[in-house]
Symmetry: C2
């Protein structure tokens, strides 16, 4: 009789870092494709991710098809041409600019550059979740301040930053998910009261849609501010992943010590360069979005609701309460195949958030919204 086989010793996974071990295993990022898979059928319209349904410019499409032929070559890790074009566009030098794979990646890089594990960052309660995600991923802590009058409570944010000794203050202006913006003067006053050793992270993903007086003039060499922009919104390049940060060289150049050097590839650079070279397309998108916002506001009034003022490419509509907002969101998705989102925290969680689409998508949404409300 053969001796019983010795069972192989169980193999144990090497330990995660304490920070990552402590993070939730599931992420809050459920894309529309995941919703489609759950429902077992495609969405009719996606108005939940604030994508530009006006699409990219024809010049961008041409540039991308041309770049596809050279896609076997790495892109310039310094992205010299694109940074030079951005420098001209903003009146900066190349040293003020760092590229990233969308603002999402840049938030990660800046958190790793400036936030020690255990240090705190301040943001609005229910603000852009990726900032908190990156802070948590670094082992930092988040202090939140509720929205006030459906806007970022800038005084409350600065006051909280001072009280807790925050290292980062995140402000989205124009804001997601409220759609609101703050006047430039208010932002400059806040900057003057920023506590020492605190960095203002100014996320301006929706800047192109905002009135001019919502975009502050801050010295490009002020070392306490990093501004973030993207090609994902007005330029219609969400699927390509190009964002950039600008600020004082002493503040943003250290990103080069840790960033993914070849992350913004040849195709991304070609697409962004072409997009920057077609300001007419951006202007036409901005004008079309403004018209669509008016249309959504009128639709909200027609149904007895209120649209919050928007400086973005989406409209946040107050439907009167959290329960109602949840029902409307679910009914639009399940009965109508219309994907929208809603803010996740009070007081904005009485609202739904709808991207401004083209007239065709707006008509689909309007008809679906009317049907859903009629059935309540």
């Amino acid at each position: 009789m053969a001796a019983p086989e010795t069972p192989a010793p169980a193999l144990i996974r090497p330990a995660l870092t304490a920070v990552v071990e402590g993070l939730p295993a599931s992420t809050p990022f459920v894309g529309p494709e995941a919703l489609e898979r759950r429902m077992g059928r495609p969405l009719d319209v996606r108005l939940g991710a604030n994508e530009s349904l006006f699409g990219p410019s024809a010049r961008v499409v041409d540039a991308m098809c041309a770049a596809a032929l050279d896609i076997h070559l790495y892109g310039d890790p310094e992205a010299f041409e694109l940074r030079a074009a951005l420098a001209r566009h903003h009146g900066l030098t190349l040293d003020h600019l760092v590229l990233g794979s969308g603002i999402d990646e840049l938030l990660g890089v800046l958190v790793r550059a400036y936030l020690e594990p255990g240090q705190l960052a301040v943001m609005s309660l229910g603000g852009y979740p990726t900032f908190a995600y990156q802070v948590n991923g670094q082992g930092g802590g988040i202090e939140t301040v509720p929205y006030r009058d459906d806007k970022n409570d800038i005084d409350g944010l600065v006051e909280t930053a001072r009280r807790v000794g925050a290292k980062l203050l995140y402000l989205a202006n124009p804001d997601n998910p409220s759609g609101s913006c703050l006047p430039a003067s208010t932002q400059l006053e806040a900057l003057a009261r920023l506590p020492p050793d605190c960095l203002l992270v100014l996320d301006e993903a929706y800047a192109e849609f905002a009135p001019a007086d919502a975009i502050p003039e801050i010295s490009a060499d002020d070392p306490r501010v990093i501004r973030l922009r993207t090609f994902s919104k007005a330029h219609g390049l969400a699927g390509m992943r190009v964002g950039y940060a600008f600020g004082a060289p002493e503040t943003v150049r250290p990103f080069d010590r840790i960033r993914n050097q070849f992350g913004v590839g040849r195709m991304a650079q070609a697409a962004a360069l072409a997009a920057l070279g077609d300001p007419g397309h951006v202007a036409s998108v901005v004008a079309a979005v403004a018209a669509g916002r008016e249309e959504y506001a009128a639709l909200a009034r027609e149904l007895g609701f209120t649209a919050l003022p928007s400086a973005t490419n989406f409209v946040t509509i107050d439907v009167g309460g959290n329960a109602c907002a949840k029902i409307v969101l679910a009914a639009l998705l399940e009965r109508e195949g219309v994907f929208i989102r809603m803010p996740g925290a009070a007081p904005l969680d009485r609202c739904i958030r709808v991207t401004v689409g083209r007239p065709a998508e707006r008509a689909v949404f309007a008809a679906a919204f009317r049907r859903v409300i009629a059935c309540l």
Copy 2:
């Protein structure tokens, strides 16, 4: 007389984290575009970055042009379709797979997931610099082991990992910059001797070019191994940025807690899916590269040098000494406009490293190399 203006107080940059403060301000990543800017003229051929000069498949180009029309939409953050295709390709489940913006980004994610600041990683001296870059960016330390017989000294690596209590052991197989590979059996023996709580990071960027017996069969559920692959080499997608990691779900799924969720965008997913669907293109590239390696070996012999055996899309040629290698590299660049690279550390720094191009690029390189050697 007006009172003299009070000078504005100097604004001080918020402090970097201690880790980032301690990193070098300059990076070792000088792309060929930077060389062109320095020289003030374009390169004739770029054979320094191991790009696939055979280009992407025609199906990939078509898929990319089609995807350009939808580039205003974010990609599926779960990359369901692409991961499903990769799962079929490798005989895995979706849970074994994580995508990233190239292996470079995945190295960063895995280091942040598994290496506490102060912990150590082991790699070959002069191995792939991005691994060390990511370890340093996390505040970890690197222990190096010199190449032995122009191959990774796997016994030395394992022994060092045991001695220093390393958390990560990085092995590129096939290897860059030596071009060598280790038999699967040797890798499996090393895995059996891996110290407890150490993760084997197996970088297989060049796997498609290797003989079958160099790619080990490791249980997909072995929690101690993460394997890394890329679409940048044989598939010709270096400019697009798509890589993937696979391993036991318990080992790789935690990447989802910190990875850039939308980082592999719509275009990248479309391109990779099309590339995976054209194995004939990869096979033709691999065959053409094998022929080119022979040609480079014959060229080296003709000039009195030795080509190291290569399981990759480049050939490392021993030119007899570090001084000679440096002279050849500089002369090729400055006199001939031919961009190649060379290993950075002894004993391999007596070599140059040349990507296998198409026959045309190989002919340019051969003529230039002959001229440079004739002038020595």
